[in-house]
Amino acid sequence: MYILKKMLGRIAAIAGNAFREAVRDRVLYNLVLFVLLLTGAAVFIGELSGGQERKIIVDLGLSAMLLFGVFISIFVGVGLVYKEIERRTVYTIFAKPVSRGEFLLGKYLGLCLTLLVNVVVMGGGVSLALIYVSGGIDPLVISIWPAILLIYVELMILTGVALLFSSFSSPALSALLTFFVFIIGHFSADLKSLATSLGGTAARWFFAGLYYLLPNLANLSYITPAAHGQSPNLGYISTAILYALLYIAVVLASATLVFSRRNFK
């Protein structure tokens, strides 16, 4: 119990530092751009949308939230480990009783905390914009939050993938590979239909393997229904979270495995 407590303390310290570093790197400045985008949309979209400003604010707000989050996950995520190695601060960290797994998990949780702050503030911004255009409390203000939760879950997966690639590759290549995973993750239905429609057994197995290996991000995309006031049910959300946690565990375990064998000399 004592050992576990100590370990959690070390992970929390690294996570806190990763969060502070992200704030110092002005990662949260994207919120300014987001606020400007939403304010502009709330004020001007009514003129252009033929009475559909509420739907468009939800679509625009949640899509921007996902897009900004993806950029933060990828570009900050791939630098989490690389920067420590480049600055050689990794030596001082590992000179202390910190394992490589704890280091990676701490870094990961730090960025997840940054993303959480980002997503919650953005969600608040979308809610305020909805209240502004509706002239009062709107049912969408409540019903968008399950979709926001799923966006956050998607970003958590992507951060894990970015960390995995960065544990053995250069930042540029890691960013590219993570971006590909994001794209292919949204084409998972096509992978599945390819797997079932191909004639050859090997090809069928290959695409089926790819379908299960890559994260199924399309299942976490609930922005469009949210704009119509639809929310996923509790069963769907809990299954999606469970899937994400399991996938993240696999990705972080693989990253730790690779990172543990890495020689910094």
């Binding site: 252009l48 949308s49 033929g50 739907k55 899509s63 996902l66 991000l217 995309s221 922005i223 469009t224």
Partner: protein
């Protein structure tokens, strides 16, 4: 520490400002000299089909649908402005809106639950391409079988085509959907009994005005309601004129000659005794034809 601007700072700022001014000037010059084909003289084609856009939109399909929806509105609005005529949304056949159907089709493929493009397709498209209007609305019904409003739109398309039997059947199907208002059932009966009457038209536009969220559609429905009211008023005024002619042996030369009869009917008039149309503009008397018409300045369409 005071920061002093050096000569090179000033020079660079000047280059920036003059350069920007030059860019603006040249852009305006290029815009003015642009060939008609580039300046929007012809419509561009949509490069991607709805299903392709949906495939590549990777989770942003709702936003892409909004984009296509707003593009549809801008496309129609730009064409109306360019025509310089006060055209109604349901009467845009002369504007060559050949991109409207693909734009609305793409918007509804990207977000099949997005209702407004279906409404727009039902109201604007019949005047341009009736087959596309019907196809897109039916596509909406397939994607949203529990939406009675799509049946209302399809019924409106059939009613406009004077296919009252198809309209009746559509309203009947729509009335069966849970949550459909009682007037859908009443509309079915009305279509069967008097599909082509003004009262049916009034009911259709009244319901359209009540249900729509789109200000332009509301405006169109309101104008059509004013027009129907004006048609009734003009019929009543013609009867008055015919009565006057039968009594006096000639048509009235001015509205003042009909003033006693108009007073009895409590018709509001201007200082010359001319009755107002529903938009508040006086009707124009045509003494030679023993008839009347709406003032061209009025918002009420003549026919």
């Amino acid at each position: 520490m005071k920061h002093r601007f050096s000569k090179s700072d000033v020079l660079l700022a000047l280059i920036t400002l003059i350069g920007l001014a030059g860019v603006v000037g040249l852009s305006r010059l290029i815009d003015a000299r642009q060939p008609a084909t580039l300046a929007g003289g012809t419509d561009d084609q949509l490069y991607l089909s709805g299903s392709t856009v949906k495939r590549v939109s990777i989770g942003f399909n709702g936003l892409a649908a909004d984009w296509y929806w707003m593009r549809s509105l801008q496309y129609v609005g730009r064409k109306i402005l360019k025509s310089g005529q006060g055209l109604q949304l349901d009467n845009l056949g002369t504007l060559n809106l050949k991109l409207l159907a693909p734009l609305l089709d793409t918007a509804t493929t990207l977000d099949p639950e997005f209702m407004e493009p279906y409404e727009y397709a039902a109201i604007v498209l019949p005047g341009i391409d009736i087959n596309e209007a019907t196809r897109i609305t039916k596509k909406g019904i397939t994607a949203n079988p529990n939406s009675w409003r799509l049946y209302q739109h399809l019924g409106y398309i059939y009613w406009q085509q004077r296919d009252y039997e198809a309209a009746r059947e559509t309203y009947r199907e729509g009335a069966k959907i849970p949550g459909a208002p009682a007037w859908m059932e009443a509309m079915q009966a009305r279509m069967a009994a008097e599909g082509g009457s003004r009262d049916t038209a009034r009911e259709i536009y009244r319901r359209m005005f009540e249900q729509s969220d789109d200000p332009k559609v509301k405006e169109m429905a309101r104008t059509r309601l004013l027009q129907l009211q004006s048609l009734d008023e003009r019929d009543a005024l013609r009867r008055l004129m015919n009565g006057y002619k039968a009594q006096m042996g000639k048509c009235p030369a001015t509205w003042l000659e009909l003033a006693p009869a108009l007073r009895v009917l409590k018709v509001p008039t201007d200082t010359n005794g001319a009755p107002f149309d529903p938009a508040g503009v006086a009707y124009v008397l045509l003494p030679d034809k023993c008839d009347l018409e709406t003032d061209p300045k009025s918002k009420v369409p003549s026919n």
